[in-house]
């Protein structure tokens, strides 16, 4: 749930989602769910000419499983906190494994 928790803090930030089919969409992150499905608002497609089917689209719901990268705004990430969150996650998983 670490990434779920993490992405929740990026709501209302501009992100770029790169999908596994190379399509990149930039937009305002509106919501994320436990499957890391992502809802973007006010989107624009990075290579618009190549993807005419998205020309009239204003917001998208992206299936989490097809996301390759998420480009984040660096200043919206608390690295120290994220490190600790990661440690906690790792510890929790280690406990579960026991």
């Amino acid at each position: 749930m670490l990434f779920f928790s993490f992405f929740k803090t990026l709501v209302d930030h501009e992100v770029t989602i790169e999908l596994k089919n190379d399509l990149s969409i930039r937009g305002t992150l509106k919501s994320v769910d436990q499957f890391l499905n992502i809802k973007l608002d006010d989107i624009h497609v990075v290579d618009e000419v190549k993807y005419p089917h998205l020309s009239a689209v204003k917001n998208v719901f992206i299936r989490g499983s097809v996301v390759r990268y998420v480009h984040l705004p660096a200043n919206a990430v608390d690295t120290a906190l994220l490190e600790d969150a990661t440690r906690r996650e790792a510890a929790a998983q280690a406990n579960k494994a026991k």
Partner: protein, 862 residues
Amino acid sequence: MSFFGFDTTLPRDRASHAAPHPKQAPGFSQQRDAFAGLSRGDSGGGGGNNAEEGYDFEDTYDGLGDELDERDDAFNDETFGGSGAAPDKDFDFFGSTAKVADAINEEQLLYARVPKKAAAQPAQTQQRQTKPAVSYAAATKPKVIQKHVEIPDIPELKPEMSLWTTTSPEATPAKSMSAHAAAHFRHIEAQEPPQMKSLAGSLAPSAAPAAAATASATTRKFKSLEEVEAEILAKKQAKMAAAAQVQPPPPQSIQPQLNQQLNQQDGWPIRQMQQPQQPFPQISMPNQSMQAQPIQQLQMELPFPARSMPPPQQSQRPPQNDRVPDHLQRGSIPGHLPFQPMPQNQQFPANNMQFPMGMMPPHAGQPPFQGMPPMGQPQIMQMTEEERNKFLEEESKRLKRNHKIQQLSRYNGLMTPSDKNFITRIQLQQLVSVNEDQFNEDFYYQVYMAIRARNNPQQPLNQFAQTYLGQQGARGGRARRQDNHLLRMQQQVQRAVQAAKARPKASQLVLEGSLGKISFSNVKTPKPLLSIKKQDSTGLANPDPKAAHSTFAGIDRRSILSAAEDIYRCLLDLDSHERKHPGSNLAGQQPDAATIQWLETRDAMIAKLWRSMRIMEPIKAESKAPHPFIAILSVKKAKEAIPRVFRYIDLEQRITILTMITISLDQVDVIKDGRYQVDAVALSPETRKKIEGFSQYVLPPLLSYVSEAQLSVITGLLGILIDRVNVLVLSQTQIGLAFLTMFTSRAEIIKQAGSADEMEVAKWTQMYDRLFSILEDHLLDIFPPHGVQVDDMYVWQFLASMAVGANMQQQQKMVGAVKDRVNENVQASKTLPQEMGQQKLANTNLFLRALGLDIDLLLAQQ
């Protein structure tokens, strides 16, 4: 194909599908119940098992007999299982009454027509012609008509058709119906517009809405009756519904025509091409007519009716019922013309609720066509040509969109708010059951939000937020981070300077003069009043940094990192343990068992943390490798852990850490790599980052401890430095100087405060003199080689703290050594940007003031 009971095949496919369909039908008989309203509308007689219904449909069917194919009736029966199952399940009050809706509609329609047509008989015939098209459009004749309509020769008629169809569906027997549409119909009926006539075969469908219109116009009573029966709708909403129904504007009835004509002029034909599925509406008309009913019946069929239908739903339902006619009304009134684009979120009458869990206000779904200023025909006439064109363009655009919306909204609400709620609830439950430790699972979000809320002073910061607050605050950038630390150091130095100034010194006047002479007389070529031996900085032992690096590998990096992680593991466990505190005890009260146990656990955890730091491992004098603790401290994350460790450990442990670092100071990476190379303008970025990290994370907790330490401790620590560490090397590094500054300024503060006895002070003075004698000839070397460009604040801080404790002779030496630097800085401050220049002056002034001078004197002289 008809998964939800509505036929989804395209019209042109339909004819071919009609035959095979019945074969598939039986399997669908179960579905029928869930969408009884829909299917009933679809089939016309699907629910024949109901006595009332039987009566109802006999009434209408008779008239249809000739028009309806037997085939289709059979298909309906098969599809929906004839007298299969429904009644026991279908206990819904409204549901069953709604089924009589048609009957009541018919009756009221008849009644309404009597005065107009003067005789019931003609009305009846009209009935027969029109009604079938509405109720059975999907199953029967209209199919043929449909095909006909589709002929591309008359595309301009299609918009009209669709207007009709979008108007009619919701208006049909269902429940409510816009008065406008009714008026519209009446008008058309009376005038028989030419378009109607040209619509050769499509007479039936176009007349259908008409009948429907009249029907439901008179059905209003039925609706409120249903409301009363069901006792579901709030009174207010009932009123609203009633109000919505009572606004018949007969004068507007002429406008539909106008608009239809407008449509035909532009926009529509194009649109036509892009919407191949357009004929659709007519087929599914009947489904829609039942739109509101399925919603309720659907609810009854939900697998968890009791749970998913709490009272809130009932309040949610009415808006849904009302919404359809609402939007219909406004959408189809041509008299309401747009001058501004519609807000996007109002495009659909769908419910735009953000929060499904009962957070939705009853009327969250906004009616879609608000804010359109009404505009009558006369106004159009008054326009200029240009305006008119523009207006027509906008109008066509709007109509186009409205048309689209109407098409899309035909099945709106198929998924009810309660359905959506239900799904959301499932997910929330999943989340809860997955997360046993909610806080741990959502740690990042929770703490991040807590930190972000720190701007709000009312918000008490929890312990977690405070842990990360320092780091968070440092986000603004490196420079500021540095400042934070330096400012703290400066505060201590300033206090020392302040204290020194408070104590009158005989030497000050003399000094003032000497410095004045030196620097004031001639800035460019100062007279060397004091002979200063310039020490060649290359004369010092200059260890090769790379060699130093290689010797540092006392423990391999991997084990260092894992050791650092050990520290963090202990820290996080402790953090979590803090959260489990059984609750604060009142002062003086005996701690209860839980608290005692909690404290014991805590102590054990702290002991573990302490062990994880490896600080108690013996120092191996013979080994070149640094002490494990110092080795661990070389990684950034370990430095970052120090302030957090300090929060848990006791005073003694703090001294131990400070002592350990002091003893091994020349082993610490920031000292080893912290010296400027001979020609280097700056340190390597890597080293700078390390220094930054050390200043930011390690120094502050040490400083906070030192600023409370006794003089004996300070003397001892400085003694360690002088005895065991190369102070000259230290003095040429930022962190080394920071340590020296820390000790000397603290000692001076204690001295000034007079809280230490003479023995202590004497010991300190002795130690200070030793330090001074080591450094006195190398004072210029402590500056970074290009000090004018770099921030040399830490150097001035050190000089200031030294100057405060120095005797007159020592002070003179210092002045002699650094006077050039003072003047350089003063000069540089003039060329630097205002803010940086001021900063330089302030730094320098810190030293001057320690001597009892002020930079203003210097500036005044120049």
